[in-house]
């Protein structure tokens, strides 16, 4: 049984587009990345999955059950929203205890553990916390019941780099313990570092769903060359070359196709430098988004 199973999910907001025909599955123990620009439908998908909004058609299941008809499946789900707002006039510990009271577990030890890891003062009033500190409350709050599925919506916004690192370590260790992670983000570095598989969403549709290794390796090479004299533009005029940036002696481009072809072509020129790298996700991402996919 898949942990998350989304089938042909469509949500319309009146005339406005929500998401169209989204299908994806996340398996037990995976860290799944969900990437897309702002407004692509990431949050809509997550909110439907959690049962906060109702689908127009299709289905979204967690552990084989739908959150709206079987709210008890949320027992095993931890959710960190992109923006956190909590009740006025409560201390951090009050909120965490209230949160813990929804689960059939004693979470006291866990609260202290997590608070220590995230460097969170439990006695402070939530109203007085900064945005980043509220976010930490959100993280702890989402993890106190040791959920088997962790859903993160833009989790690192507002956290300083140190905390971001600790946070990802925390998530990684939860994952090692067996938790499945669904990470929605537009920060590709995060996704690249963490995820085994990714889905790319644009304008409400999934445009790519692939293993990270394939997506990254998938024939794409980032090639940078430096010529001894100004480079002849026509050498790059061949199938498989994209994103060409050519300025005098240097050129940089993405290449997809038989590597021998480009090497033979490059060998015809006098080069002073050459580098061939795995492209980072950002470049692939831009590749998918800037063109029509």
């Amino acid at each position: 049984m898949s942990v998350i199973e989304i089938k042909n999910l469509t949500k319309n907001y009146g005339k406005a587009r929500g998401i169209i025909d989204v299908s994806l599955t996340v398996e037990q123990g995976e860290i799944f990345g969900f990437i897309g620009p702002n407004g692509a439908g990431k949050s809509t998908t997550i909110r439907t999955l959690l049962g906060l909004i109702y689908p127009t058609s299709g289905s979204a299941r967690i552990f084989g059950k739908c959150c709206t008809t079987n709210p008890e499946v949320r027992e095993d789900v931890g959710y960190l929203p992109s923006e956190v707002f909590y009740y006025d006039g409560m201390r951090v510990i009050d909120l965490l205890r209230y949160s813990a009271s929804f689960y059939k577990k004693d979470c006291t030890k866990r609260i202290n553990e997590l608070a220590e890891i995230m460097d969170l003062d439990l006695k402070k009033r939530i109203d007085d916390l900064s945005f980043g500190n509220k976010k930490k409350v959100g993280i702890v709050q989402g993890l106190i019941h040791e959920p088997r599925l962790i859903i993160l919506d833009e989790p690192t916004a507002g956290l300083d780099p140190l905390m971001q690192q600790r946070f990802f370590e925390l998530i990684a260790s939860e994952n090692k313990k067996g938790a499945t992670v669904f990470l929605s983000s537009h920060i590709l570095r995060e996704v690249q570092k963490m995820c085994e598989r990714v889905a790319l969403i644009k304008d409400g549709r999934i445009i790519k769903l692939e293993k990270m290794s394939e997506l990254q390796g998938n024939n794409f090479k980032r090639i940078k060359v430096e010529g001894q004299s100004d480079l002849d533009k026509t050498i790059f005029d061949m199938p498989g070359v994209s994103k060409l940036e050519n300025g005098g002696k240097t050129a940089s481009f993405l290449y997809r196709g038989d590597i021998n072809n480009i090497i033979r072509k490059l060998a015809q020129t006098e080069l002073s430098n050459l580098s061939i790298d795995e492209p980072d996700l950002e470049e692939i991402f831009m590749h998918y988004y800037s063109k029509d996919g």
Binding site: R47, G51, L52, I53, P71, R74, E83, F85, Y87
Partner: protein
């Protein structure tokens, strides 16, 4: 249970405030009772000359106006107005505050059904104004026993006070059902004040005299105190209307809230 307690806790301060204001109203007015009682005889003679429509508008019952119960049934109108505002506020803010204060993303991803959320909130609201009413009733009883000039029926006194609870129940249910139809209710007070006050003014100005149909418009007029004092019971049609309003509202509330999309923070 945890949600219920959480709700109760968050309403503690306002409950104390409402209860105190309501007792204060009773205290101020009831303390005038001895003076009014001394004017009793004249007062009674004079009122006999009033036309019926005026008597109805003033809520004065001719026969019993100088008794404690008669006097009390005039002043409880203010208390009921106060309680009505409290109840409507409660009903409206209860469910809408999760979206207004943007805590819905916290509460509604917990392993509880929407129905359980509604139940916890409704029970907490009920408890709040039940506490208010019990404390108020205790306070009013003490004050009444101090200012009384002759003995009065405790049963009728209770029945008069019970109308406070009924009216609150109606406004609470109306408030709850109104709130689920708004996607984002920015502020509760204008709507609840408007509704409750509208009903109060309609009750005071329109629903006077014998035009019984008009009494159905304003819950404040569902309970005619002179009728209660004379017959020791409530008027069934109005009681039934109140019950229907409450049941329909609550059921609608469950139904709509369970199917409602909770949108992301804008």
């Amino acid at each position: 249970m945890n949600m219920y307690l959480h709700e109760l806790k968050s309403m503690r301060k306002s409950t104390i405030m409402w209860t105190c204001s309501m007792i204060a109203i009773a205290l101020v007015y009831l303390s005038l009772y001895p003076a009014i009682f001394s004017d009793g005889a004249h007062f009674k003679d004079m009122l006999a000359g009033y036309p019926a429509s005026i008597r109805a508008v003033l809520g004065v019952t001719l026969d019993s106006v100088t008794t404690l119960l008669g006097f009390y049934s005039m002043i409880i109108a203010f208390v009921v107005l106060c309680g009505g505002i409290q109840a409507m506020n409660l009903g409206m803010s209860m469910l809408s505050k999760e979206t207004r204060e943007r805590t819905a993303d916290f509460l509604l991803v917990k392993p509880v059904s929407r129905a359980a959320v509604v139940t916890a909130k409704i029970l907490a609201g009920l408890t709040v104004f039940l506490i208010t009413d019990v404390v108020y009733y205790a306070g009013a009883s003490v004050i009444a026993s101090i200012v009384k000039q002759s003995s009065y029926s405790g049963g009728l006194f209770f029945m008069i006070n019970l109308t406070l609870f009924f009216v609150q129940l109606i406004f609470f249910a109306i408030g709850a059902v109104v709130s689920v139809f708004f996607d984002r209710l920015r502020s509760v007070l204008p709507v609840s004040l408007g509704t409750v006050f509208g009903c109060y003014i309609i009750g005071a100005l329109v629903a006077a005299g014998k035009d019984d149909w008009a009494r159905f418009i304003s819950p404040f007029r569902y309970f005619d105190y002179s009728y209660i004092i004379q017959n020791s019971r409530y008027e069934t049609p109005y009681l039934a209307t109140g019950a229907v309003i409450v049941i329909v509202s609550v059921v609608t509330c469950y139904f709509v809230y369970a199917r409602k999309d909770i949108h992301a923070v804008s």
